[in-house]
Symmetry: C2
DNA sequence: TAAATATTTCGATCATAATGGAACTATTCA
DNA sequence: TGAATAGTTCCATTATGATCGAAATATTTA
């Protein structure tokens, strides 16, 4: 995973509303939640919510599946895991310049 | 950890330069890195770097310790761990509205 | 105390993000 | 086909973030 992709994801998660949406989906279990169900939880105008959701979809953090009139949203666990790994990757393995200092 | 605090941290980590700084520090091992050393890695003007670092310090993601003329920076592993946990917390435990659907 | 080094603060500019009402599109159902 | 429901896109406004040169501050060393 590229650093710039990771930063994009983190930036998207850095908005309180979007973080709430993703956490909601992570907890939601199989099937995820419809946009309208998410709206009941976060209580913001539909257009604002739609924008936030499209940010999340664009970053790959969630995906959607249409089921009749309803758009069901689910989290991308693989990407969330990758993100978490990248954040703590190579912990304490040393950086050249730091090594040179010793 | 509050959702709004987590979002603040993620927002800070969502900038590519700041993410690079934190990852650099995570890899750096005991002692961390001086601001000047970080600058050699990221290659941006001192004033810009200083702003990014103060964002990170403000969010609690890193801390600093003066050592003579040098300001040594270190990551806050505890906060990084808390962040990671929050992101995947209560995975699939279900959300009321989703449960009601079944 | 003056010069050198390390880093921050100031101040201004430019770019990007968040927000939400209104109009639009897609899908179902009578 | 027309009305209802679910969600998106358009558009404009307001707010926030990124950037960096120049000047300021802190610390050491000559």
């Amino acid at each position: 995973m590229e650093l710039s992709d990771a930063a994009l994801c983190l930036e998207k998660l850095g908005n309180p509303t979007r973080l709430e949406i993703v956490r909601l989906l992570v907890r939601s279990g199989p099937g995820g939640l419809a946009v309208g169900e998410i709206q009941k939880h976060v209580g913001i105008p539909a257009s604002t919510l739609s924008h936030h959701i499209s940010h999340l979809v664009g970053a790959g953090l969630i995906w959607q599946e249409r089921e009749g009139r309803v758009l069901r949203c689910q989290p991308n666990f693989g990407l969330l895991d990758a993100l978490v790994s990248l954040l703590l990757a190579e912990c304490c393995t040393g950086v050249e310049i730091a090594a040179a200092r010793r």
